[in-house]
Structure formats: structure tokens, C-alpha cells
Symmetry: C2
Subunit: 289 residues, 2 copies
């Protein structure tokens, strides 16, 4: 596995691979890898010939400097995991390589003013900006994002469409612990008791699924049931439980087109997110979570 | 010469050219071509093998709908001029092809809050967004911009640097009428009398050049002299006469690094812009205009 710290090295390696006719797969990460990240590489392998992963804790998407400084970093372990997953090139830049005197940013209007965007000002702008940079550096044919960060994934899909990036975006299903908790580097902060309470999030999605599959389309009825189930887990704070259009991430009253149910709640001081995509199937709506 | 209306056609043509080992040169325009535009193609030819021009009046960079509607369009004439200049592919999309349900934009902070940015809110955001799209569609190796729109050219240079677009930007010197007036599609709106008065702009740049080459570096002294000369042309309004840093386009008190002197003034109802780049040479500063 190759490890490149500079943009120039990455460009050289990718250029040689492209000349050899290889299709480039790309999984951007902030490191501290878990099974969820590795599943993205697995999916990327099915569509491309040469696997690239970036590991870069992106300062400009943190609105709290402390949060950035405390973000867990385990580079040695990450590199071993990446290699075992079949990654062929890791791009591992430092802040200086990525952001000298940055003045340019990329943003996606309306997609970022709701859900997590309302709680994390500037966060998504930081994400879109770094992903634009990484796409221009790596020039991948395919890039895979996890469904767990649905607002990020849908925003990047939209950005690629709007700005005509020559990249195919694949959104990969959320990988879960046995009991149903969505995998996240944050889960390690949960005590066993908090982790147990947090399972209410997954149960609320299951309940919504069975209501939707029985033909219920009213957002308020579904949300009421979900909130009730989440409350049973005694969350320390609920940021949102929301049903939105997939395309705009703006709230909807009824599920009539492709939609998203998204949740963000604290257990202890740990903020967990989860979601479900509701898409039209052959027989009514199907739920992907 | 090929003419493509769809993004898909452009991608196919470019992809074939790249496979054949050709380097792609790109000149984005809003049409209504004059010698200035054609000079950009000439420069592009020196660096690349296949010349692409886009002709697209970019709605989102106009803050006045009427201005957009009244923008001169002469497609048939433009296509003939492009062909005679050696353009091999013209990308000629309509609004629908470029902007379906656009939500994403690209902006360059601080570079756009001064000079023309202060007078044309949202203008540069529209320019950066469309140029990002065009770069992703055409994927050029080299793209040439005219010095006349210095804020645009410097902003695009900065955007390419910040977002790591794999494109080399060349800034080409301003092409002038015999008497020194910078070429522009707007010049046709000038009456002979206004055109004569407008020559004061060029004279003010010449005066600044001789002051700078004699060792003068104080911005206020140079600007005072320039304003006096411009006033001799009895402009109907002066938007700005300004000396700024080249990198940030923020005003400077003294010329100590690469700088720009920029002017915007009305003659009749026609707003004219012109500028001069001041760069370090072997013996003091040299002026490019």
C-alpha cells in the first residue's frame, strides 16, 4: 500500500494508474476507521480497479476548536486497517498541505440549513469544500459515502450534480452493531448503560418502517410514535427527529416521494445520529437503514 | 469545428481527445466575441493541442435581470469567429442544461468584497460557480482568461489554487484599440465623443506607470495623479480607482509586492473597467497593461 503526504505525489500515482486504464475508487475519511469505513472500500472495489482512501481530520468542518483537537487520531492502526481492506493508496496530508491561505469555499444552499446544519454552523460548508478539493486531487471515477451521515451524503450527491464533477457517487448502507446501533467512532464514548438506552433510536426506525410499510404516510403520526419510542431510552437531549424530502432535505408533511427520516440525540454527552431512506419500490415504499 | 449543446456530448468528445494524448485548452466566454477573446485562443494554442471555447451567457452572474436579457447575443457570428481563430469545439449550452435545480455555489472570500464586488453583489459567486462547472465538464489542461477582468482572473486563479482544480490558468494581456481603450463588447455603446473622453482611463494608467518606474510607491500620490487625469475625461461617474494587493485584492498604502491598479468609470451609461498589474522585475517594478 502506498502512502502519500503531498498532493503532487497523489497526482503522479493516480495519473500513472489512469494511463494504465485503471478506474479509480475513492473513500474520503477522517480516520479512526471502523467496519463502516471498510465496508465503503468493499463497495468501491466492486466498481473500480484502484482503491484510494484519504485520512484527514478536516479542521474547517469543526465549529468548535476543542472538538477538532480532541478528535481521535490513530494513524498507525488506520493504515493497517486500510491495507487489510485492500486500499492501494492512502492520501495523508497535513493542514499546511490542504489549507495554506484558503479563501474559497463551496456550499450547497438549503440542504444545509436544516437537520444537523441548524446545529453545526459552517460544518457542511467545510465538508463540501474539502470534498471538492479531494475530488480535484484524486480525480476518482467513483466515490463511496456512508448513509449514516445522510445529510453529508445527499449534499455531496447534490454538489456533484450541480457542479458537474465527473465522479459517480455511491451511498452505502449503514453498518450496525449486532443490537442495531449505527457504527460510529463516537460509540466508544458510551457507557454500557447509555449504549443500551441508545438502542431506542434503532427501535424507533423499525417502528417507522412497519408503519410506512402498512401504508401510513402522515409525517406527524410517524414522528409522534418515533419520539415516544426514543423517549423510552431517556435520551439526555433530542436535537431532531424529522421527515424530509431526500432532494432538498426540507421537512415534508406526507411521504409522497423519496424521503429521509433522520434522528440526532444525545446519550450522556455523546451525540448520535441515525436515519432511514424511504424510496418508492414495486409495492409501496421501501425503507433502507 | 464541432458544436455541442449538451454536457454529455462535450464529455464524449474530450474523452476521445484525451485518450489520443491531446492536451485540452479552454477559453470560457459569454459570446459577442471580439479580438480580445480571440487573442486568448491564440495563447491557448501555444500550450495545448485541442481548443475548446464555451459560449454561455451566465444568468447567475447578473444581479439585474434586464442586464441579462439585454446582453448582446450573436451566435452565428461568434461561431464563425471561433472557427477562424482555430477553435475545435464550441460548447453552447442553454440555461436548462447548465442550471436545473441549482443549490450549490462556489465563492472566494475577501477577493470579492472589494472593487467590482462591492458594486455587483453575487456577481463573482456566479462567475466562480459557472467556471467550476465548466472546468468539471471540459476538464481542460490549460484555461486562458483576459487581464481586463482582473478581479475575475485573479479570483479564478485563487479558486483553482484553493480547490486544487487540475488546470493551469494563464492570464493574457489586455487587447486595446489603437488609441489605447481596452477592448470590450461594451465599447459599441460609446458615442465618438464619449469614446474620446474615455481615453483618459488609459492615460491615467500610463501616468501611473511612469511614476512607478521612477520609483514612486505611495498609493495616495499615484491615485491622486490618476484621478486628476481621469477627471480631465469628464467621466459621468467613477466607481473606483484603487491600488490593491494582487493576492487578496485588498487596498494597500504602498506598492511593495505584486499589486493591481484598477479603475471602473462610467462614460454616458457605459461602465468601463481597466487595470494594470505591477510586478517585481529585475530593476524595480514593471507594469503590465
Amino acid at each position: 500500500m502506498l502512502v502519500a503526504n503531498s498532493i503532487e505525489e497523489v497526482r503522479k500515482i493516480i495519473s500513472a494508474q489512469k494511463k494504465a486504464g485503471k478506474r479509480i475508487g475513492f473513500v474520503p475519511t477522517m480516520g479512526y476507521l471502523h467496519e463502516g469505513h471498510l465496508s465503503l472500500v468493499e463497495i468501491s472495489k466492486k466498481h473500480t480497479d484502484f482503491q484510494v482512501m484519504s485520512i484527514f481530520v478536516n479542521k474547517i468542518q469543526f465549529n468548535d476548536k476543542k472538538d477538532f483537537e480532541n478528535y481521535p487520531r490513530e494513524t498507525e492502526r488506520d493504515l493497517k486497517l486500510a491495507e487489510s481492506a485492500g486500499v492501494e493508496l492512502v492520501f495523508l496530508p497535513d493542514d499546511e498541505e490542504m489549507y495554506r491561505d484558503r479563501l474559497t469555499y463551496v456550499d450547497v444552499l438549503t440542504l444545509t440549513d436544516h437537520l444537523c446544519g441548524a446545529f453545526r454552523e459552517g460544518h457542511f460548508r467545510g465538508v463540501f469544500t474539502v470534498v471538492s478539493k479531494l475530488f480535484n486531487i484524486v480525480q476518482p471515477d467513483v466515490s463511496v459515502f456512508g448513509q449514516k451521515d445522510i445529510q453529508q451524503a445527499a449534499g455531496i450527491e447534490k454538489m456533484v450534480y450541480d457542479l458537474n464533477f465527473p465522479v459517480r457517487i455511491i451511498i452505502a448502507p449503514t453498518i450496525r452493531e449486532k443490537e442495531g446501533l449505527a457504527m460510529s467512532s463516537r460509540n466508544k464514548h458510551l457507557s454500557p448503560e447509555q449504549r443500551n438506552r441508545a438502542l431506542a433510536i434503532h427501535r424507533s426506525l423499525q417502528a417507522a418502517e412497519s408503519m410506512i410499510e402498512s401504508g401510513e404516510a402522515g409525517a406527524s403520526v410517524i414522528l409522534q410514535k418515533m419520539k415516544q419510542i426514543i423517549e423510552e431510552g431517556k435520551p439526555d437531549k433530542v436535537d431532531y427527529v424529522s421527515i424530509t424530502s431526500y432532494d432538498t432535505l426540507q421537512p415534508v408533511d406526507r411521504i409522497e416521494n423519496k424521503s429521509v427520516i433522520a434522528i440526532a440525540a444525545f446519550f450522556g454527552t455523546t451525540r448520535l445520529i441515525d436515519n432511514m431512506i424511504i424510496d418508492k419500490g414495486d409495492k409501496g415504499f421501501k425503507c433502507i437503514y
